[in-house]
Amino acid sequence: MLAQLFNSTTIPVLEQVAGFAQDRHQVLAGNLANIDTPGYRTRDLPPELFEASLKKALRARDQNNQPAAPGGYRRPSNPLAEVRGDVKSMVRHDENNTGFEAQITEIAKNQMTHSLAMSVLVNQFQLLGAAISERA
């Protein structure tokens, strides 16, 4: 019941986005720490790949998300889990060094993504709380 409630909202999606932003932040922090390491190649978790993967998982979820039938509702087994699995293999070793400014920009952009996901997530929980307590 509760899992069904959560799955009908954007909470699982936001959770994935925030998780990805946190993982990517670690990699970008490593890039800046190694800014003077000879032979170090810039690493990244490409957000485009993550977004494509997330979109695919969402589409799969929406197709399976039929209205509850009298025979009982069957929830698809966590479709977003596969996104996580994909992210692990996304370590990219660039041939060229992207440079200091580019890294800072990426960190700032990544933080904004994280901030956005977190704000909406907090809002979603507040809405759920309002519904449960029957007052806004």
């Binding site: 993982d23 932040h25 490593g30 800046l32 720490a33 190694n34 003077d36 996304m90 901030s115």
Partner: protein, 140 residues
């Protein structure tokens, strides 16, 4: 998430070690003999960085460490000072003193670079802290 802090901290330590070596070089810019008193121009030190697999996050994020602090092998700057206690006593360089071959310009540029890299790591620590706090705010 917390390992991002460790990674940035490893960057701070490495850059500070580098800055120490630079301070060492500038302090010894006129040192003409070694600890035992034998005349020898001070050779500049420089630090070598490498990735540190002991400090790592998920998905290939790695920290940095100082692999070694190397001593350069450069020819000294010769200066004619016959009454200097460290002056060469005989041979074709008689009366010359070996001064360290350290370029203040290079050292200061290096110091500036190390400082900026240090600041960049501090900035990332701020971002990490903010992200963690934001995540914890879900509970509030």
């Amino acid at each position: 998430m917390i390992s991002a802090l460790d990674i940035s901290a490893s960057g701070l330590t490495a850059q500070r070690t580098r800055l120490t070596a630079i301070a060492n070089n500038i302090a010894n810019i006129s040192t003409t003999h070694d600890e035992s008193g034998a005349p020898e121009a001070y050779q500049p030190r420089f630090s070598v960085f490498e990735t540190d697999d002991a400090v790592r996050g998920s998905h290939g994020a790695v920290g940095v460490k100082v692999a070694s602090v190397e001593i350069a092998d450069v020819d000294p700057r010769w200066r004619y000072q016959p009454y200097h206690p460290d002056a060469v006593q005989e041979g074709e360089r008689k009366g010359y003193v070996a001064y360290p071959n350290i370029s203040v310009m290079t050292e200061f540029t290096d110091a500036l670079e190390a400082t900026r890299a240090y600041e960049a790591n501090l900035g990332v620590i701020d971002v990490t802290k903010e992200m963690v706090q934001q995540t914890l705010r879900i509970l509030a």
